[in-house]
Every structure is written in structure tokens, then in C-alpha cells.
Symmetry: C2
Subunit: 143 residues, 2 copies
DNA sequence: CTAATGTTTAGAATTATTCTAATATTAGAA
DNA sequence: TTCTAATATTAGAATAATTCTAAACATTAG
């Protein structure tokens, strides 16, 4: 999403396209990493004419989550990371480095399979609206 | 696991079976919920002759995680919940109530399926050692 | 231009957790 | 048993991440 579309997206979702929010959103959309609020704050602090406060980073992230442009990722205790969202997807955690990789949701499991699976659990009927898989393991780069 | 087996398990894992640790472990093994350290502290505080400190609850939980009797569950931002573990399993989060249900891992996805799936991601080779699914949705009790 | 509304800010407050260093308990040796 | 070394527990301080507060600022509608 480029700058102009981002502005439009904000307006369409009743969110004022302030420089702070735009900068944070642009930064997140430009990276494949999953930074914390602190990390975002550091990363963007020299991209704005005046320093941005950490509170604004938190406020903005909350707003961006609300309009569905980014997502929270919970992988470590007591730390929230943020992920440019748009699509639903899964995560692979490299157990050696802690790195988080996005995994696209090619049809891994069909909704039917999931609901049948959950039916084995005898006491309840589950209506699954969404699911998220965290894979743990190691990665070898292909040559 | 009963009291005696618990003691033995601790000893086998080089963990002194102190009253505090035993009480916390017994409490967790007796519930299907996924309480926080605070909640555990409250729940057990009158099961011991002298009051237990919150620091000990944290220390004990860390020790119990280390010996593999319980697991951390990360479902909400900035909150760690604990789960009697033993088996690998998944979680269903009731989006209405926030309740967390354990889902037994009947063979939902085979390891081969997972690794083939991840192969679609072109740049890397993944060695999956484990995976965890969080399902989100609603629950209807069966009559 | 002004009022109303919404946004950002610094710093205080809060929450969950970890650290510290003093005291108590434990398990094993004497 | 009693002693001792190692470990565990404790209260309270410290820290980390986040949220709150209330003042200042900016933007928009009239």
C-alpha cells in the first residue's frame, strides 16, 4: 500500500491520517519483521520533524490494529509484537534465533476438516471463525 | 498424577518437593482452566500453613515449566497463563467469554503435510519440531 | 475566526514480573 | 540426631511494558 492509498484507507476507516500514524503504518508495511512498540519508536524517531512520544506509538498501534491494517503477535511472554496484516497468515518461529517468519495460508486445513476435528471433543460444538498456527523449528537457507 | 508421584517426579527432575511447589503443581493439575500467577497465588494462599509470597509462585512456576509439568500459554497481551501440560495440545479460545479450552491433538495434520506445506514457501527449508494451533470461535454446549 | 473535537505529549500511574539480599528449609554427611 | 552446604522462600525494591492523565496543539465545521 503506498502513501496515498494509506491516507485513503485511514479516511475510509474514520482515522485521521496524522504524520505519526502514517509514519508508523508505512514503517510496518515496509518490513517483514515483527517489531515491538519500543523498536518501532526507535526506528521511526528520526523520520519525523519533531520527536514522537512512546505514548503516541502505543496509541497509533492500537488505532492501526482497530482498523485492521496490522495485527498483534504474541510469541514471547509479556511482549507484544506487531505485524503488517492484510492477509490472514501463520507464523514460524526459528527456535535458534527467535526470528518470526510469516507463513502464507495456502489451504493447509479446510474449515470442514477443522470442524470435524473439533467434533471429536465430545462435550461441545465449536464454531471456528479463525485459526492461527505457530510452527516451531529450524530453518536452513536454500542454496 | 497424585501426591506421591508428584514428589517422585520432582525428585527425578532434581527439584526439591517443597510444600509450595507441590501445592502449586497439585492446584494446576486439578484444574482445566489456565490461570495466571496472580490467580494461582490467590487460589492456593489458604492451602498452606503460612502465606506464600507471589515471588515464590513465580519461581515455582518457572521451575515447573522447566521440568515439563506445566506450560506457558500466551493468549492475551502481557499476561502469561499456565496450563497443566504433559501432552502436547492445542487451544480453542471462546471469543465471547475469553475462556480457553484444551483441544487434544488427535492427528489433525501429519508432519509430512506440514513440511510439504511449508515447502511452498520458496526461500527456506523448514524443519518443524512442533506446532500449536489456536482456534478462535464460539461454543455451543450440546444438550 | 472560533468552538468543538480529536491528537499528541510528558510524565505519572499501573501491572506483571524479576531481582536482591536476608532468612529459612532441606537433604545428606558426620 | 546434629551440622553443614546448597537451595528455597520471603518482603520489598526494581524493572519493563503499557496505560492513564490532563495540558497543549492541530484540524475541521460552522
Amino acid at each position: 500500500m503506498d502513501n496515498l492509498n494509506l491516507q485513503q484507507y485511514f479516511i475510509d476507516h474514520n482515522l485521521k491520517p496524522t504524520p505519526q500514524r502514517l509514519t508508523i503504518a508505512k514503517f510496518l508495511l515496509s518490513t517483514d519483521t515483527h517489531p515491538t512498540a519500543e523498536e518501532i519508536h526507535k526506528a521511526i524517531s528520526n523520520e519525523l520533524p519533531t520527536p514522537i512520544s512512546l505514548a503516541t506509538v502505543y496509541n497509533s498501534l492500537e488505532a492501526l490494529v482497530k482498523v485492521g491494517i496490522i495485527k498483534e503477535v504474541l510469541t514471547e511472554p509479556n511482549k507484544v509484537r506487531y505485524d503488517k496484516n492484510i492477509t490472514n497468515h501463520h507464523h514460524f518461529i526459528n527456535t535458534k534465533t527467535g526470528e518470526i517468519l510469516d507463513i502464507e495460508p495456502y489451504e493447509l486445513i479446510s474449515k470442514e476438516l477443522i470442524e470435524n476435528y473439533l467434533l471429536k471433543n465430545p462435550k461441545q460444538k465449536f464454531k471456528v471463525s479463525n485459526y492461527h498456527i505457530t510452527f516451531y523449528g529450524q530453518v536452513e537457507e536454500n542454496s
